[in-house]
Symmetry: C2
Subunit: 449 residues, 2 copies
């Protein structure tokens, strides 16, 4: 199915470009899927990629551009003139066109837009660029099939045929009234199965989900998933039909959101990939490590403060990495479950009940782990009182860590801050410090120092 | 758009069920979307939920069942007879039907299947149950629109109308030859826009992506995303058309996969939610905590082994939580990037280059962090040699932790084990032990003990 990415293919392309055998390059690539060609271009050097983009038909290269790695696309676009970019943009659907233009520097955006041929396309793209990129308006396309409620079935079929030429996939035919307000929808199936004559009002489905143009894309994703929609129309405050969002865009939103949360939990800011360069990776990783370092230096301070008991109960110091690890692990578990629950609207009920549950849960886990610590102490012949002190204070640390892990994301969420930042290094670091402090204090109370 | 979930609604439902005002319940719920009703039922008690399921039309309740929380559905189904379940199943598409039956205990499965009315539906469901649930066959539905390559356009339209009655959404019309082999496709748009007469061969698109029935669902998800497909036909080894997979099922696969990876990275096995009960949560969390505890006990051993230097260089012991934290954080960062890269087929190039890159990256991070440690040591008036020893050994620990975090997932992946299990507690725990050991050994070489 796919173009085989192999050394042979690349040396063939090398050779063809070297000798400017344009016909052969076209023959090699013309029948391939644009996503496959994009994969090949991602691996070529910039000159080669640009050469191929300029060579192939812009109907094809425009969608190839959309599939390229973002940084490859950025570099290729730099190599093209505003006019050449405009030619690509002319071929694209409005949503893709707006996405590409939005990636350009501001000055360049204006020049590319001014080079666009089709005035309607231009106006549509400018409208889309005016919306926030995380809103329904920023995600939608202007291409859709719309019919008027007063039309007859044959007229609808005829108009639909004309409009459908511009729409890659027709999911629904949207029905509007004379004020362009969305009042219902038709499926292609309805139209195919409708009696050949008569007004469409009889077959219009008046129930149609829609989202406001300023709705957050994550909310749109939730609605489309919940109601299993493949497309959703976008309207303004007056119910005027503005565009539509399709499920393939939502798939991208879901994936990006999941990857962002995953990276945040792992202590990686920004959107980086394994193949990004060392500097990009450092910028994404170092800040979190510095946070962790400060946390670690904080625990150095705390332990120094208890340095006077090093001679009497040295074993406490041997257990500090264990205490820090348990506090970190428990905190991450709790926060991950809450962050996921919040994302899925799955955290219901009162805060007090959640607190009770979390305390209960960590008591069970804590008791099991404390028992293991006491058994271990017995095996290595540790002082019984010390073992008990370690086990009990570890339990306390586990309970506190679970509460911190649970409530920090909930509080952030209530304050409209993305709770995902609470996972990972943030929780582990604060729990490390808090845990070690609590550990020494409680152990001190039990042993008596 | 949605049924408002409120205390008033629940007390109304309480009252209506209490007084068996069936008509009013039907009036209240009949026009609501099944996904909204499912949300309400998730919050009711079992008797109430079952009462409503039995009351409403099975055309509606069957799809409500699909939307219920898995554990709610399990309990509701226990309350229904095999015959009642079969009535629900009769209304469902084959893929949903097979999913629900697969959740039942084996004995019950047989009884429900034997109660199914429609023989073709029954055979289809049994076929689907025979496939691995993580394969294309386990995800596909049998419902699709198929036409023969020799048919005329009018006959296709006619057949399509008949077949489309059973298919919720028609994405493509699949064209088969006389041996039922998939040879092309038509879009509804093509058919709507085709000349009214003549054979369909002129408008058939011979290029059609398909997947083998035994293909892994994650692979199917990748293909559908890459080629932006809304549906993909499923074929057997002989290209015989068996079923189709639609994008809404793929959305679920992507979400589940992301949530599973996220939970694994947080040290949570199994698929749990914030609202699961304490025992389910404990079972998912305790094993990882025990793993962490064993790791912690391992570092107790190591530190005990270096106990003799506690009097001469006590500060090393104060830094152990810091060292463990850095080793853990760096390891999680590295493994998260690799796990994501592997999932997106984004980890290319030789292992040696990756090793060089990871060492370079951790050298940069390590140097920056080491500098901070030395400054901190200077501020708190620490012995310079000790500061240097701590900083240098921390750098070594960071490099090793990054390499472990990078290569453990790569090795697991090469051995066909899900690399995601390498993230989280697994990496932190092994890096904790390794890190603390290395720290004392290298610091010992520098300070000389």
């Amino acid at each position: 199915m796919a173009l085989e990415i192999s050394k042979e293919l690349f040396s063939e392309i090398d050779y063809l470009i070297e000798n400017q055998l344009d016909k052969s390059i076209q023959e090699l690539l013309n029948d391939e899927h644009h996503a496959d060609i994009a994969e090949v271009l991602d691996e070529l050097n910039l000159e080669q990629a640009t050469y191929i983009i300029k060579l192939l038909d812009s109907e094809k290269t425009s969608i190839i551009l959309m599939e390229l790695d973002e940084d490859v696309r950025e570099r290729v676009l730099k190599n093209l003139s505003a006019k050449e970019i405009a030619e690509e943009i002319d071929e694209l659907d409005t949503d893709d066109a707006a996405d590409i233009i939005a990636e350009l520097p501001e000055e360049r955006q204006k020049r590319v837009i001014s080079e666009l041929d089709d005035d309607e396309h231009k106006a549509d793209i400018q409208e889309l660029l005016s919306y926030d990129e995380d809103s329904a308006g920023g995600l939608m396309a202007k291409e859709l099939v719309r019919v008027n409620e007063n039309w007859t079935v044959p007229r609808c079929v005829k108009e639909m045929r004309i409009q459908a030429e511009e729409v890659t996939r027709v999911h629904s035919i949207y029905v509007v009234n004379d004020s362009e307000q969305l009042i219902g929808r038709l499926s292609l199936k309805d139209l195919l199965m409708a009696p050949a004559r008569g007004n469409i009002t009889k077959i219009v489905r008046p129930k149609v989900d829609s989202v406001n143009v300023h709705e957050d894309v994550e909310e749109v994703a939730k609605i489309m998933q919940k109601y299993d929609l493949e497309a959703i129309p976008v309207v303004d405050e007056n119910k005027v039909l503005l565009g539509r969002i399709t499920i393939d865009d939502i798939v991208d939103v879901i994936k990006e959101e999941a990857e962002k949360d995953y990276q945040m939990a792992a202590g990686i800011s920004q959107d980086v990939e394994a193949d990004d360069n060392v500097w990009e990776l450092t910028r994404a990783r170092l800040p979190w490590l510095v946070l962790g370092l400060f946390g670690g230096l904080g625990s150095v301070f705390i332990m120094k403060g208890f340095g006077h008991i090093m001679e009497t109960v040295p074993s406490l110091f041997f257990y500090t990495p264990l205490i820090a690890a348990m506090a970190g692990n428990v905190g991450v578990q709790s926060s991950a479950i809450i962050v996921q629950g919040l994302a899925n609207d799955n955290v219901k009920g009162s805060l007090f009940n959640r607190l009770l549950k979390e305390v209960g849960l960590s008591l069970i886990n804590g008791l099991a782990l404390a028992l293991l610590v006491i058994i271990f102490g017995y095996i290595i012949g540790q002082n019984h009182l010390e073992s008990l002190a370690i086990a009990v204070s570890m339990m306390a640390v586990i309970i506190v860590a679970a509460l911190v892990g649970t409530f920090v994301p909930i509080i952030l969420d209530k304050k409209d801050i993305d709770p995902a930042i609470a996972t990972g290094p943030f929780i582990t670091t604060s729990n490390d410090i808090l845990g070690i402090y609590l550990f020494f204090v409680i152990a001190g109370l039990i042993i008596g120092f």
